[in-house]
């Protein structure tokens, strides 16, 4: 068996030590980490650039659209005012109190035995229109007081389907001193005054009191 003697073992050891030098290895590792960090930074920088481009584009778009939106808002406000005004006028026209149908209905219930000498009417209120009518007149017939009473009830019955809260009450009913000629007969008279109250429009119902 041949004897093998390594005369360079010192040199080999030194070479081995140099190859496993921790300082060198750590430098390699650190360089790799630094490269990764730099790469990550550049990726982030790219993302940042894209984001800023998006932001600039969005801001430009918003700057372009904002004055249009403000102008549109002003136009919308003005139009809404006009529309509200138009609706208010329509409502005002539709909520008017119409006297002609009332007079027509009244003329239909006045019999030939009654002469209306005075009619006074007044309308108050905005949404719920309250009308107060006062009729003065002379009634005749076999029983002039009864004729006047029939007129009073006839008025209430005639107005009730069209108007709300119709009331018809006598303010006065007195026997008259004069006689009138009707159908060739002398008949007694009575003078009367009837107050009529009625409501049109939205009827406001009173809120019932709470029960304890």
């Amino acid at each position: 068996m041949a004897l093998h003697i390594n005369l360079f073992h010192e040199i080999d050891k030194a070479r081995q030590l140099k190859r496993r030098d921790p300082l060198k290895l750590s430098m390699y590792g650190l360089s790799a980490i630094a490269a990764c960090c730099a790469l990550f930074y550049f990726i982030e920088l790219g993302r940042n650039h894209v984001l800023h481009r998006e932001l600039t584009s969005a801001q430009e778009k918003f700057r372009a659209i904002e004055p249009k939106a403000k102008a549109a808002k002003k136009i919308e406000d003005d139009l809404n005012v006009e529309i509200k005004k138009s609706e208010a006028v329509t409502q005002r026209i539709e909520q008017r109190f119409y006297w002609a149908p009332l007079l027509e209905q009244l003329s239909q219930v006045v019999p030939r035995e009654i002469q209306i000498t005075r009619l006074v009417g007044d309308v108050t209120g905005d949404k719920s229109r309250k009308c107060a009518l006062m009729l003065d007149g002379i009634s005749t017939g076999a029983d002039p007081r009864r004729t006047a009473e029939e007129l009073r009830t006839a008025i209430a019955e005639k107005f009730a389907p069209k108007y709300h809260s119709v009331t018809s009450t006598f303010k006065s009913l007195d026997d008259g001193s004069e006689l009138v000629m009707l159908d060739g007969k002398q008949l007694p008279t009575a003078t009367f005054a009837i107050n009529i109250l009625l409501t049109t429009g939205d009827e406001t119902t009173p809120v019932p009191p709470r029960k304890k």
Partner: protein, 183 residues
């Protein structure tokens, strides 16, 4: 492996340098960049609803502009019905002409008062007293009906019909009317 004193010093110095580099990398490069990114994202997110609102506002207004002529037709029509100039100048002859067409002569108009229209800005309400000295009930009823139908801006708020002293054939009517006119 045994490190020499000089090598330990180098390692310590290298470590310190490494810490400094890491601190600088994060504090001066990466974190400010990420902060800028977050701020940009936040700004974009904040702009998005505002843009949506602005676009919606424009669309809403366009739709309203299309529908507006129909919705404001009444006010446009009414504006054409109100003559120019002072109502004191045009209202009495207009009313007199109207009743004349209905066969009622001798109509006098008297200006009573004026009040602003609260709900209808730019308009006011004038109160007038109309005196119809000689009318016949049915004829008056027909005239009143025509007045209420033809003059939507006019409302009769009170009326009084009295038997004429001349006899039962004719009556005297007094109307209180309110008329809407421009400011």
């Amino acid at each position: 492996m045994k490190l020499h004193r000089e090598e330990i010093q180098k390692l310590f110095l290298g470590g310190l340098l490494l810490l400094g580099v890491i601190y600088s990398y994060f504090d001066m490069l990466l974190f400010p960049l990420q902060k800028r990114q977050a701020a940009a994202r936040k700004s974009i997110e904040a702009l998005e609803p505002e843009m949506r609102n602005a676009e919606a506002q424009i669309k809403r207004t366009e739709a309203l502009q299309k529908a507006a002529p129909q919705k404001t037709a009444v006010i446009a029509q009414i504006n054409t019905m109100i003559p120019e100039g002072s109502p004191v100048a045009w209202f009495p002859p207009k009313v007199a002409d109207f009743f004349k067409r209905q066969g009622i002569e001798k109509v006098t108009s008297k200006y009573h008062s004026e009040a602003p229209e609260k709900e209808i800005s730019g308009y006011r309400r004038l109160a007038w007293g109309l005196d119809l000295q000689k009318v016949e009930f049915v004829q008056f009823g027909n005239a009143l009906c025509a007045l209420e139908n033809e003059e939507p801006l006019l409302e009769v708020t009170a009326l009084q019909i009295d038997t004429s002293r001349d006899g039962f054939d004719s009556q005297r009517a007094t109307l209180t009317v309110q008329n809407i006119v421009k400011q």
